[in-house]
C-alpha cells in the first residue's frame, strides 16, 4: 500500500533560471542565469561558497520562491503543482522541527500537511530507520543537533516524495556523526531512486554521496564545475575531491580544504 502512494522520481529542468532579490531599492542577484537538468532518480550534490545562492536555488525548485526569469519544470509540471500534490520534500538548513510537537508528531505532521491518511506504522518505521526509536516521544529541544536533523529527514521521507531537496541536512553535526549518517541515511532514499538535490559544504560528502557534483560560483550562482560523482567508485574519490576543491578555490578565492 505504501508503494501506491510513492511518486515516481521526476526529471528536473531549469531553463534560463534567474532570481534577483530587491532589498530596499538595492538589487541582489542570487541565482543564474542557469540552464540545468537533474536526471530522474539521481543524486546531485551542489557545492559553492557561502551565500552564493544554493538555498535560493532549492527554494526556487520547491516553489517557495518565484523565479525572476526562466522556468522550472519537475517532470511535466510546475513546482507549485508538484508541491500541491506533496510530490517533493524539503529538509531545511535549520531542521525546522516544531518545538511543541514530539518527534513522532513532527514526522506525522508531514502526512497531515500532505493530506495523506495517518499511518502510525510507517511513521514509527521511519523513526526507527533514522535511529530515534527511543526518542519518538521526545520534543526537539531535548535532542542533539544531529538527532534533530535525523528527525527532519524521517519527516521528509514519510510522504515518499519523488523529489528530495536537502539543504545541508548534516550541517549541524560533528564530523564523526556526519560520517556515520553519510553511511547510513542516504541509502534510505537512494535505494528507491529518488531524485535528490543535496546542498553541502563538505567536499568529501559531495564526492561520496552523489552521482554528480555541481560547483557554483560566488553570487549569483553559476556553474563553474560539473563532475561525475563517485558514489559507486571509491577509487575515484581522491581525484574528484581534488578537482572539486580546485574548482571551488579558483573561483571563490577561498583556500581549498583538503
Amino acid at each position: 500500500m505504501a508503494e501506491r502512494e510513492a511518486s515516481m522520481p521526476p526529471k528536473v529542468v531549469c531553463k534560463g533560471l534567474e532570481k534577483t532579490f530587491h532589498l530596499g531599492g538595492r538589487a541582489v542577484d542570487a541565482v543564474g542565469p542557469l540552464d540545468l537538468t537533474f536526471e530522474a532518480g539521481r543524486t546531485t550534490a551542489l557545492v559553492g561558497p557561502s551565500g552564493c545562492g544554493k538555498s535560493t536555488l532549492l527554494r526556487l525548485v520547491a516553489g517557495l520562491e518565484k523565479p525572476s526569469g526562466g522556468v522550472i519544470s519537475i517532470g511535466d509540471e510546475t513546482p507549485e503543482a508538484v508541491t500541491k500534490a506533496a510530490g517533493l520534500a524539503f529538509a531545511f538548513q535549520d531542521a525546522a522541527l516544531l518545538p511543541w510537537l514530539t518527534v513522532r508528531q513532527n514526522v506525522a505532521l508531514a502526512l497531515k500537511l500532505a493530506r495523506r491518511p495517518a499511518d502510525r506504522e510507517r511513521v514509527d518505521h521511519l523513526i526507527a530507520l533514522v535511529g530515534l526509536r527511543h526518542f519518538a516521544e521526545t520534543r526537539p529541544a531535548e535532542l542533539s543537533g544531529g538527532m534533530r536533523q535525523r528527525a527532519a529527514i524521517a519527516r521528509c521521507l514519510v510522504t515518499q516524495p519523488g523529489l528530495l531537496l536537502l539543504d545541508e541536512p548534516f550541517g549541524a553535526v560533528d564530523e564523526l556523526t556526519r560520517t556515520r549518517l553519510n553511511a547510513e541515511l542516504p541509502t534510505l532514499w537512494q535505494e528507491r531512486g529518488t531524485t535528490t538535490l543535496l546542498v553541502t559544504h563538505s567536499i568529501a560528502e559531495a564526492a561520496t554521496l552523489s552521482d554528480r557534483v555541481l560547483v557554483f560560483s560566488p553570487r549569483p550562482a553559476r556553474i563553474t564545475g560539473d563532475f561525475d560523482g563517485a558514489r559507486h567508485n571509491p577509487a575515484a574519490r581522491p581525484a574528484l575531491i581534488e578537482a572539486i576543491a580546485s574548482a571551488l578555490g579558483a573561483k571563490s578565492g577561498v583556500e581549498p580544504v583538503s
Binding site: A86, L98, W100, L165
Partner: protein, 528 residues
Amino acid sequence: MTTRTAPFSPNALPTLFAACVLIALWQALASATADMFVFAGPLAVLGAIAEEGSLLLRSSGITLQSAAIGFFIGNVAAILLAGIALALPRLEQLVSGLALVFFCLPFVATGPILRVIFGVGDGPQITLAALATYYTTYLCLLVGLRATPGSWLDLVRSYGRGRLSELIHVRAMASLPYFIAGLQIGAPAAFLGAMVGEFTGAERGLGVLSIRAMRGLDVEMTWAIATTAAALSAAAFWLFGWLGRCLGAGPPPLLLASRQDGPSVGMTARTGSGLIYLILLILAVLGVWIGLIKGLNLSPFFAKGPQDVWAFLVSDPAAATNRAALFTAFWQTLSLTIPGYLVGLALGAGLAVLLVTQPRLASATLPIAIALRSIPIVTTAPLFVLALGRGAVGTITIVAVMIFFPTLAACLEGMRRTPRPVLDLFSTYAASPWQRLAHAQLPAMAPAFFASARMAVPSALLAATTAEWLATGTGMGSLMALTASTSNYNLLWSAIVVLAVTASLIYALVHILEQRVLHTFASEQLVQ
C-alpha cells in the same frame, strides 16, 4: 531557532525571604507614618480582612464576575482584531491605530457616560474591563503571530498548503506563549477596569466598597480592599501562567516588541505616507464614533458626535470660553502626569538595574514585583493625596507609583531574558558586572522598558485623572466628574477627545523614540 535564555530559578526560598523583608518594610512604613493616616500595615490589613471577611468575599465575587466577562469580551475582540491584521496586512496599521485610540479613552470620562447609557447594573464595569484588556492581548498576539521562524512556514508551503494551514499548524501554537503573556497582563487590568467602572455609581462590588472606605477615611479598609484586589489579580496572573505551562507554552522570547519598519501608530519618518495614514486613521475613528452612536441609537442628549465637539470647541460663539476652561484643566493635569510618569519610569528601571547587578536578589524579587504590579494603586489615590496634600506632590506620587511596579517587573523580566550564551561569553572574559550591564543586560532590557513605557501612557493619565476626580478636585479629572453631574455632555466628550488624542500622541512619541534607540543600541531586538 530562538535563542535559549537563562532559565528562571524557581528557588522559592529567596523569594519568600524577600517577601518577608518587604512585609516588614510595609509594617515599618505604616508604623512610622501612623499619624498621617495613609498606610495601614499588614497586621491592620489582616485585621480588617478578618473583620469584614464575608463582605469582602461577596464584593470580590461581584467585581470578579464583571472583570471576567469583560476580560473574555476584550480577548475575543483582540483575537478578532489580530485575525483581521493577519489576514489583511494592508489594514494592519489602521487596525492598530484604531485599537490604540480606543485604548487611550479616559476611563474617568467614559465611565460616567457608560453609566448613563447602561443605567444601573454591571454594563460599565464590563465595558471598562474589556477596554482595559483588549489592547495588550492584541499587541502580544500580533508579535506572536509574526515572530514565527520563516522555515516553519516554508515547511507548510513545501507541502503545497496555504495560509489557513499555516495558521492551524504553526502560527496558532507559535503565538500561544505571547497570547498567554497577554492574558497575564490583561487579567489585573480587567480587574482594575471593573473597579473603576464600579466607582461610577454601581451598587455593589469591591469598587463601591473602596469608594465608601475612602470617603469615610477608613485607612485600614481601603488598604484591605486594595490588598484583596491585588491578591485576586496576582492569582489570575499565576493561573494563566500555569495554564500556559500546562499547554506547553514557555515564556515568549520577546514581548510587545516593536517592528522595524516604522511604528504601527502613524507618524512614520516618511511624512508622505504618514500623513495619508493619519488622515485615514482620523476618518476611521470618526466613522466608528458616529457609527456607534447611530448604530446603538443613543440619545443625542448625552451621546455627542464629532460635530457637537467641533461646535463646542471651535464654531460656537462660546467656543473661546469653552476652550479656556478645558485647556486650563488639561494643562493642570498634564503638568502633574508627565513628571509622575517620568519619575515612575526612572525609578522602576533604576531599581531593576540595581537589582540585576545582584542576580540572586533580582530573581528573588521578580515574582514580588509581578505581584505588586497587580495592586490597583488608583484605588488608594485619595489617601495619598490626603497625606501629601492637594498640591502637586500627591498626584505626582500616585502617577509614579502606578507606573513604577509594571516598569520594574518588565525591566527585570527583560534583563532575565539576556541570552545565556551572551552572559557566558562575558564570564569567559571575567567581565565586570558593569560591563555586563552596559553591553548585554541593558540592551536586553530596552525593548521591555519601552514596551512598558508605551503601555504606561494611558495608565498615567488614568491615575492622574482618578486622583483629581476622587480627591484633589482639580484638573481634567474633576472637570469631567463635574460635567457628568451637571449634564454638560459637550464638555465631557470634548475632554474625552482631548485626552485620547494626547495619550495617543504621547504613545506615538514614545514609540518613535523606541525605534530610534533600539535601532542604535539593540537592533537585534527588533522583530522583522
